[in-house]
């Protein structure tokens, strides 16, 4: 893909046309959602719906709350002390804060890929099948099949199939990040959260991961936080723009980048701040 090899300038952004698919439009539904770290309000009155099997990008300047919102979708922020929220988030109609819902179960449904690749200090194979082992799968054949499937989906199989038993820490940066993606999809979650997955990678590795996102959206609903507007434009179907914890605009990517309705959005897109 030539445009990946030559990243476009900020003035001219190419937008991938939105693909309309079947599935529920309000698969993930965020309603009047607010979130505090201690006394600091990080998110304020967020309301948006994420349709099934689409890629939604969260963009905005640093500290705007986009990562916080993403991490709340699988309740990763529970690990932080002294946090609280208001409003609600539902996934296929069920609140993620439902007392009857195990947070572990939620996280199995909602996979996550982090900004920095974080493979475990284990072999490549063990990394990929970790989610299955955690669920309790012991059958070697099942594990091997799942490993291959996930690695293939993560477009890593050909590169690592001969070194499945080597330490994952020996892979290159891009491979490690794809390994993390493979690990995240090994248990076939329904949703995949990606928190700036390419921020630490070079353009070639970034290109591969973007291509991967494109292919994965057939099976997963993907929410991606990104710093790069070009990336958001390239990979997402819909884009939400946040600023200072507030949701400024949420629409199809095309609309956001071509014809934003808010002045702040336009200012950010055109690189006047952020």
């Amino acid at each position: 893909m030539p445009e990946i090899m030559n990243p476009p300038s900020s003035s001219r952004i190419k937008v991938r046309p939105a693909t309309e698919r079947e599935g529920r439009k309000d698969y993930i539904s965020i309603r009047d959602y607010g979130f505090w770290y201690g006394q600091k309000k990080a998110l304020d009155a967020i309301s948006l719906d994420i349709p099934e099997r689409q890629v939604v990008a969260f963009i905005g300047p640093s500290g705007c709350g986009k990562s916080t919102l993403l991490r709340n979708l699988n309740r990763m922020n529970d690990l932080v002390d002294d946090v609280r929220h208001e409003g609600d988030i539902t996934i296929s109609g069920r609140s993620i804060y439902d007392a009857g819902l195990e947070v572990i179960s939620l996280r199995r449904r909602v996979g996550m890929v982090f900004q920095k690749s974080n493979p475990f200090p284990k072999s490549v194979f063990e990394n990929v099948v970790y989610a299955l082992r955690v669920v309790g799968v012991r059958d070697r054949a099942v594990l091997e099949e799942a490993c291959e499937t996930s690695l293939r989906k993560a477009a890593l199989w050909d590169e690592v199939k001969d070194r499945l038993d080597d330490s994952a820490l020996g892979l290159s940066g891009g491979q490690m990040q794809r390994l993390c993606i493979a690990r995240a999809i090994a248990n076939r979650p329904e949703i995949l959260l990606m928190d700036e997955p390419c921020s630490a990678l070079d353009p070639i590795a970034t290109g591969k991961i973007e291509e991967l996102i494109h292919e994965l959206k057939d099976q997963f609903t993907i929410v991606i936080v990104t710093h790069s507007m070009q990336q958001a434009a390239r990979v997402s179907d819909r884009t939400a723009f946040f600023y200072l914890g507030k949701q400024i605009e949420y629409d199809t990517t095309e609309k956001i980048f071509m014809n934003p309705s808010q002045a702040q959005t336009e200012a950010y897109i055109s690189g006047r701040f952020g």
């Binding site: 572990i104 309790g136 099976q219």
Partner: protein, 766 residues
């Protein structure tokens, strides 16, 4: 890649692969609980340790619990009493000599006994309850000894029954015939027994005594020889009270005006020793009551105004320059509520009961503390006696009552002053801090001052730090700032190994190898060590004035390799020069031969008058260096090498030399880390045990002298705790020492930790 089989909308029910198995949840919950319990438990145990130590120490600082356990009605004519070991069957002696035994439980009479004396009457009665002896002074001046015995019998059911018996011995004529006895005393000396009677002859007191020498005859029958009566203290005009120590070694007579005259027994007669007026500065100089304290070397005097004084015998400098053991005041006690009515000493410790102003006070003589105070029963108290194991005392009042109290007082000799105050002990020439926890006899006054131990701890620590800090800190600066990294990776583990050397090994080498080795070559050692610092400075100076091409030969960070042979050479020559230095400066006359000898040890003894031990503080300081250096080094090195490089490059870029950079930028930045290292090293030195135990003489002296030993808190515990009986004052005093060590090190380490955290925050900002 359109996967058509995945097309249908996902079912709303969660899929099985997302459900969490109950096993996983249970494992998570239980392990979480276990870890929480374990973690909290361990943390509590850690704090529980301090709590336990304090709990063990706490009883030392509680007073005595004394409770009345009833009164027994006895005949009102009773003037003296005695009891058996358990106090179950007391007896009273009436003024006519009648002895009545009663059951303490119900007051019922057990036995009545009357003396058969013919035409003589009993005019004086004295009872010694502990030995079961009663003495009658008779109207003709003779003395009759009555022996009380209890025989325990057990019936078939194992119940104890007691059968008292009374044996009267043949009266002995002691006093001037025809004059009635006013009072009588008995004491058992090392060789003989002494019987003393007091009579009144024409308004003048007359004291007469005999000695009874008992010799075991053939067949085990004792044969008693009675000496001829002799008059004691004939010159005395008035006798208010006579104190005869139970050892019969001396005699103390209190006169009417408050003059106290003491006599010493030289085996044949009592010779006058000394006279003094305890209350000579008071308005009323009279002594209202007095009593000998257990051990027979201290007397408590109480005036009519309730003033208390304790006098004891201790070496005093006489006008002629000789030091003689004489009586002198050692304590000024608290003023009591009224005139003293009696002083009664406990057996086995230094406590006494003072009766004054309608109050009974249980006091400890050594510390002067009031253990307990209570109301005295109505009626004059005729006699008070303690049970032998100090768990009870009994008082006979003039209204015919035998009052009894129980005592719970496990640590009568302890008080804040006993541990941390200056105390004038019996027989000492002045108040002092002393640790001397045990001696051969019961009569010994235990001395539990922690001050000499704290002093010893401080001394050892200071010597260790004096030696260790310069080395550790300079090494840390050199290693962190100048040494090449590849050497650093070797040096640091070596220092860590130094930290791991068992202290018992260091102590052994210090005491058995080093001390005898350096002893004869002390001056050589001083010379060799003293030359090192100037030599190193000189080497550096020399190098810096050398021309640049020569200097390039020494790569930065390798200086120490060049320094090593140079220093070794310097030290060797200094060591060899040692004897010459010793001969030049430290020559003294040998006390034995009178010839001049060059010996620093002798010079030190003669010049300073201080002691010189081969196992001394310098040796301890040096060897403790092994324990302290690596700790200080590691922490200081860490904080120095963590100083951000930007600061160093900044300084170097300004043209500062590497030393200027280190001294003005690196060291000030890392100073709190360095201080923290020093404090942790301090904490380590405070608690070091085996080195001190093995490398010093362990004498609890308070001398700043570097050539004498010391006893530290930790060494004291290691040496004495295995011998201390659980629960006793000694045991708890050692626990108090451990508490002090714990708190001391804990506080120091906490401060160090806070300093280090502050440093970490500072680096964050930089």
């Amino acid at each position: 890649m359109d996967m058509s089989d995945k097309k249908p909308a996902p079912a709303p029910a969660p899929e099985s692969r997302f459900t969490v198995s109950p096993m996983t949840l249970a494992a998570d919950r239980w392990m979480g609980r276990l870890i929480r319990i374990g973690g909290v438990g361990v943390v509590l145990a850690v704090f529980g340790m301090l709590a336990f130590l304090i709990y063990q120490v706490f009883p030392l600082f509680t007073g005595a619990k004394v409770a009345p356990v009833g009164a027994l009605s006895v005949p009102a004519a009773a003037v003296a009493f005695g009891e058996d070991e358990y106090g179950d069957f007391p007896f009273v002696v009436q003024s006519d000599g009648k002895v009545i035994f009663q059951r303490a439980k119900d007051g019922s009479k057990l036995l009545e006994w009357s003396p058969t004396l013919g035409d003589r009457r009993v005019t004086a009665v004295r009872s010694y309850p502990r030995s079961g002896l009663v003495f009658f002074g008779l109207s003709d001046g003779s003395v009759q000894e009555i022996r009380i015995a209890y025989r325990s019998t057990f019936d078939a059911a194992g119940k104890r029954a007691v059968e008292p018996s009374v044996t009267a011995l043949e009266p002995i004529a002691i006093g001037k015939p025809g004059l009635p006895c006013v009072d009588v005393w008995n004491a058992k000396g090392a060789q003989s027994r002494l019987l003393l009677v007091r009579q009144e002859s024409a308004g003048k007191p007359l004291l007469t005594a005999v000695r009874l020498t008992e010799r075991k005859g053939l067949g085990g029958k004792a044969k008693v020889t009675v000496s001829a009566p002799f008059v004691v203290a004939a010159e005395v005009n008035s006798v208010e009270q006579v104190l005869l120590p139970s050892t019969a070694e001396s005699l103390i007579i209190v006169g009417k005006s408050g003059e106290v005259r003491t006599y010493a027994d030289d085996g044949t007669a009592f010779t006058f020793l000394q006279s003094f007026v305890p209350f000579k500065d008071s308005k009323d100089t009279a002594v209202a009551s007095s009593g000998l304290i257990f051990g027979n070397v201290s007397v408590v005097f109480v005036s009519r105004a309730g003033e208390q004084q304790v006098w004891s015998m201790y070496p005093q400098l006489q006008p002629d320059g000789k030091s003689l053991r004489r009586w002198g005041k050692i304590h000024d006690g608290e003023v009591l509520a009224g005139a003293g009515e009696g002083v009664y000493a406990a057996e086995g410790n230094k406590c006494y009961i003072a009766v004054a102003g309608g109050k009974l006070q249980l006091r400890n003589m050594t510390t002067g503390t009031l253990r307990w105070e209570g109301d005295a029963p109505a009626g004059t108290i005729r006699q008070v006696a303690f049970a032998g194991n100090y768990d009870r005392f009994t008082a006979l009042s003039a209204d015919g009552k035998l009052h009894r109290w129980s005592i719970v007082d496990h640590h009568p000799e302890s008080s804040w002053d006993a541990f941390f105050g200056k105390i004038w002990y019996e027989g000492a020439s002045g108040p002092d801090y002393t640790w001397q926890s045990s001696a051969g006899s019961d009569e010994f006054e235990a001395k539990y001052s922690l001050i000499p131990l704290l002093y010893g701890t401080a001394k050892g620590t200071i010597f260790a730090l004096l030696f260790a800090l310069p080395i550790a800190l300079t090494a840390a600066i050199y290693v962190s700032q100048f040494l090449r990294p590849e050497y650093r990776n070797v040096v640091k583990p070596v220092m860590e190994i130094m930290a791991s050397l068992p202290s018992v090994v260091l102590g052994f080498l210090a005491g058995l190898w080093l001390a005898p080795l350096v002893d004869p070559r002390l001056i050589s050692l001083f010379c060799a060590v003293g030359i090192l610092a100037p030599a190193a400075l000189f080497a550096g100076f020399l190098w810096s004035v050398l021309p640049q091409p020569v200097r390039r030969q020494v790569k930065p960070g390798m200086e120490f390799l060049w320094l090593l042979p140079f220093l070794a050479l310097c030290a060797y020559f200094a060591w060899q020069a040692g004897p010459a230095v010793e001969a030049a400066f430290f020559t003294v006359k040998d006390t034995a031969s009178g010839l001049p000898i060059a010996d620093f040890r002798e010079w030190w003894r003669q010049t300073t008058g201080e002691t010189y031990d081969s196992r001394n503080s310098l040796v301890v300081g040096f060897v403790m260096g092994f324990a302290v250096i690596p700790i200080v080094f590691t922490i200081a090195e860490d904080s120095l090498s963590n100083v951000p490089n930007s600061l160093i490059s900044g300084s170097l870029a300004l043209g500062a030399s590497r030393w200027q950079t280190v001294w003005s930028v690196v060291v000030p930045t890392a100073i709190s880390g360095i201080v923290s290292g020093v404090m942790i090293g301090f904490g380590r030195a405070i608690g070091e045990t085996m080195i001190v135990v093995m490398a010093t003489g362990n004498t609890a002296v308070m001398e700043a002298n570097p050539f004498s030993g010391m006893r530290t808190l930790s060494a004291n515990i290691a040496v004495e705790l295995p011998e201390a009986a659980a629960g006793h004052t000694h045991y708890r005093a050692l626990f108090l020492g451990a508490c002090c060590l714990f708190l001391l090190t804990f506080v120091i380490n906490t401060l160090a930790e806070i300093l280090r955290q502050r440093l970490r925050e500072r680096y964050k900002v930089v």
